[in-house]
Symmetry: C2
Subunit: 616 residues, 2 copies
């Protein structure tokens, strides 16, 4: 990742990093700084820094006994500065696995810069340690090759993104406030009490309003690597603060944003990975749901959902017939290639239970035997022609397993989508590679519905994404008659089954925005007066996107959690295990705030968690 011109040794006393010396350096006097990684019988030590390892040979003559004593007495992980001469390793002792393995440094001087007194675990990649221990001693875990690599790759990738946006395409990096006003429906926003009694800032979930206002302000092209906040309690693989690459452009359409992002990812893609080849494929929301049962399909493998409603309508399978009498009922299947070989009866049962418990759906399975016959309760009712038809419809070959579900379209797709991923996990546990981690399948998902029924009040609508998304031009007419039919100019970017970005063309017409907020979403528009006024003041057409940086980088480096690409992550309970944050604040520290607040006699103003002042 490092450019040829990068100087890691500027401004400091070392001459080289511990990963830098090669045969070409033989004969040079060098100074290295690093951590004692290994020491062997007073003969040599291995010094480590962020860049690699170098072997240091300790001369065995009397005059070097002081150096020998110094280095052998120092505990591992002590910080040391050494000077010496680069020499070639003796014949046959070169280590081809080590980038510096052709040389060693013949010691002439050493200084212990800081002695290591305490180590809760070894700084070796193979050392086993729990994640909570790693997080408690994060400053030690950061020395691991993995975290060094992840954080450096992240930094380089963001740098390349900035070059692309700022230098190549004229974007302006603008910092927007994080102390802001509560937004409508912002239940997941952290509140920040201020010195004005009863008044709060709110930490925003995204710079959405600001990026739009910047367009109204004529900034034309905005980006920011933006810190965002979400207070949603314990969620695995979520962080209370996270980072998004936030982008907004004026005078742009959906295709413009998509080409921009494809170029951005191509440009910033790590050099050690195979280059990306845009444009990325695109799929409508409807197609993604029908084919993969999810709006973020992992397209690295098939096992697509097939609609076999018509087949079952003609068949005599009674239970299916019953299901099909429901309005909107469908029958769908996924075909698990070689499923008969890799899935046991117990596995199929587990899948069935999962469908029941998570989606309240029944799922049947059918096995196409090697001899071409079907193993299924209902198969005997079918004619040879029907069986052949089912094989053809689903692409099933001998040895495959079909999972079949019936019911309303979306629900059926959804359960099969979940089972598809579950099957992939089963098959992978048996050695079949379905989701090759070295493959990166990007996919645009487009044409989302603009509104969805509210989960608790299905008569009411809520925005599928956010209330500022513009309707699809050809659906505008339905905004006043049947809003459920309106698609939004929204696009999600999916990578290997994870949503890594989402954006939209925004509403730039103030009346339309007011109609959506007031009449469709029944929101209190008074909180958004400034935005509506801005749209009346010469707002250009505009749109944007935000990429989830933590997720994107974690997928690229193959980390199992976004915590592995964040320097100081919180646990899934939102705790910093190293410093023990959040923490109790002493009554002493809260007092000045309380006293100020109590001057206002008309309000009972007490801090959450603080006892009343009188009980201090």
């Amino acid at each position: 990742m490092n450019r040829g011109t990068t100087d890691f040794n500027s401004f400091v006393s070392r001459t080289h990093t511990c990963g830098e010396l090669r045969s070409t350096h033989v004969g040079q006097e060098v100074t290295l700084c690093g951590w004692l990684q290994y020491e062997r019988q007073g003969l040599f030590v291995v010094l480590r820094d962020f860049h690699g390892l170098t072997q240091i040979v300790i001369p065995q003559d009397e005059s070097s006994s002081y150096l020998k004593k110094l280095l052998t007495a120092a505990p591992l992980e002590s910080v040391v500065q050494v000077s010496g001469t680069v020499i070639a390793r003796p014949e046959g002792q070169a280590n081809s696995k080590m980038p510096t393995g052709d040389i060693e440094v013949q010691l002439t001087g050493a200084e212990i810069l800081n002695s290591c007194k305490k180590l809760p675990f070894e700084i070796k990649d193979f050392a086993k340690k729990t994640e909570s221990l790693r997080m408690q001693y994060r400053y030690l875990d950061l020395r691991s090759q993995q975290l060094q690599h992840n954080l450096r790759l992240r930094s380089q990738m963001v740098m390349r993104m900035r070059e692309y946006l700022c230098n190549l395409h004229g974007f302006v990096d603008v910092e927007t406030p994080t102390l802001f006003k509560r937004t409508p429906g912002g239940a997941k926003e952290f509140l920040v009490p201020t010195r004005e009694p009863g008044k709060f800032y709110s930490l925003p979930q995204s710079p959405q309003q600001f990026k739009q206002l910047l367009m109204v302000g004529g900034l034309d092209r905005y980006f920011q690597v933006a810190r965002c906040y979400r207070d949603e309690g314990s969620r695995p693989n979520r962080q209370p603060e996270f980072t998004q690459v936030d982008i907004e452009m004026s005078f742009v359409d959906q295709a413009g944003i998509q080409r921009l992002i494809e170029g951005l990812l191509q440009y910033s893609w790590p050099e050690e990975k195979e280059a990306l080849t845009p444009p990325f494929p695109s799929m409508t929301y409807a197609e993604a749901m029908a084919t993969y049962g999810t709006d973020k399909p992992d397209t690295r493998f098939g096992m697509k959902i097939v609609d076999i409603t018509d087949f079952f309508r003609m068949s005599e399978a009674e239970f299916m017939q019953r299901a099909l009498k429901q309005p909107d009922s469908t029958v769908k299947a996924i075909c698990i290639s070689e499923g008969a070989k890799y899935l046991k009866g117990k596995d199929l049962e587990t899948l069935g239970q999962l469908a029941k418990s998570e989606c309240n759906q029944d799922v049947s399975w059918l096995i196409l035997r090697p001899d071409g016959s079907w193993k299924a309760r209902l198969a005997k009712l079918w004619t040879e022609e029907q069986k052949a038809q089912l094989s053809q419809l689903t692409g099933a070959k001998a040895g495959d397993v079909l999972l079949v579900a019936a019911g309303e379209h979306e629900a059926t797709c959804s359960v099969l989508g979940k089972l598809r991923l579950e099957c992939a996990t089963f098959l992978e546990s048996r050695g079949i590679v379905l989701r090759d981690p070295s493959l990166f399948h990007f996919l645009w998902v487009v044409d989302f519905p603009l509104f969805l029924p509210k989960e608790d009040q299905t008569d009411w609508l809520e925005s599928a994404h956010h209330p500022f998304t513009a309707p699809h031009p050809s659906d505008c007419v339905f905004l006043y008659s049947d809003p459920r039919k309106v698609r939004g100019q929204h696009y999600d970017l999916v990578l290997n089954g994870s949503e890594i970005g989402g954006g939209s063309i925004r509403i730039h017409n103030s009346e339309l925005q007011r109609h959506v907020l007031e009449n469709i979403l029944k929101e209190d528009v008074s909180l958004l007066t400034h935005l509506l006024e801005a749209l009346e003041s010469g707002a250009p057409p505009h749109g944007g996107i935000a990429l989830g940086l933590d997720r994107l980088v974690s997928l690229i480096v193959g980390a199992s959690s976004i915590r592995d690409v964040i320097a100081f992550p919180k646990s899934f309970r939102g705790r910093d295990l190293m410093s023990n944050a959040p923490d109790i604040v002493s009554a002493e520290d809260l007092k000045p705030q309380l006293e100020r607040a109590q001057n206002k006699s008309d309000e009972l103003i007490i801090w959450r968690g603080a006892r009343t002042a009188s009980s201090d």
Copy 2:
């Protein structure tokens, strides 16, 4: 500022910006998008975007009457897309003041993209408006040339800084948490209540602990354009959130950091300004105080403080003799060149009152008359030789004014330092340029005292900067005997009299850090256990610096306030006048938090500003 390769027209429908067309484009078909800046009698309109202005000629033939109607009916500041042919302006009509003044665009098509309905003030640079109106309609003010320039220059400068740090010198851009734990003495930290009753995150004033822990973690070279927070109520020219360019390096000394920063500023300095020529001059804290009466001297002009204690010891001026009987007493002066001409008696009185009211100090003045005689109550007591000596000591020439103060060294310097700046303001109001805004005088101030007496308890010490600053190597011995004598390895970077950065070499020895915290500062070290443990685990020697980005950019662009280099600043009362933040949060919105909190019966847990749940 824009590089030659920047494409501002990628991904959008326009072919050129409104600032781009020249004679070389004549004959080309172009499409422009922008705001209607000006319209004249149906003959032409001027279109504006972030890049400039272009004149659009409306054809007067019948077939273009629709276009004419469209454009003349549109209110100014409406957003318009026009197509047309670039033509040379008729002979004699070129406008040399306008970069696009050689051409105009002969209109062939136009579309009103958004009509402007409302404007609280004109978008003209000359339009007068109060700052509060500008902040309320910030999205309009952002269209001004000034703010467009400031924000773009800021973005470009930060980009260059990143190139220097990341690409040229191997720094890693690491994002550190802003939801953290309260730090010892963090009275100015905003608190963020969490879902755990009684527990708070704290928004840190800087990433100080994290940057040090990154060094312990072997990151070697860290930087971040970091958002920082400070809750200090109403302060002019301060913001509750601000940005610093935050840097930390391992194995570095003070000179290393200084050379790094000089290189950084030189590399990122705007091209349109005269290039910087490091190294920057350096001055000890003691020298800065003695010569300028401040630790952030504006070295663009002289008027230095001169110690004339010895002169007065020999003179017969009785009041001075009295003052000089106090231990540690001194007499000092500044010489105001041509002061007799530019300062009136009333001005000198104002200066005297200021010294009294702000510093509780008496200040006398002496005028050296053109004829060489002194105008001063005491002058008659002096011999000719003494007068000549005074002139020589202070550099006073005929027509100059001396301001003289007596008292303890630091207090005397301090009052004269204040008067020096006040005099400069007086002289500048009379047309003398002392502080040329086109000059950029950088200055390192070094060798600060490590500790200062606490303001309210002068027996106790507090850190002059922060408790992690390493002592000057030659002063370490005093740490255990007389800490007041210890200088710190701290350095401030001063530009034109403003502190724009500060940093230090840090303590990397855990015992020394503990001694400073426990024995000298009497802090509760339990809040810093993780840091002390980290220093025991192989912490490399390290140091760093932080530059105040808002201040730096505001000095470079000559803005009168940092609010002019921030897209969405808060007022000096910490309010966002556009959205009205901070704001009251409805009891409805606070309720879920209250209910959760009230399950804990042993704590009275109520949000600041919320009424008790029972009063809802």
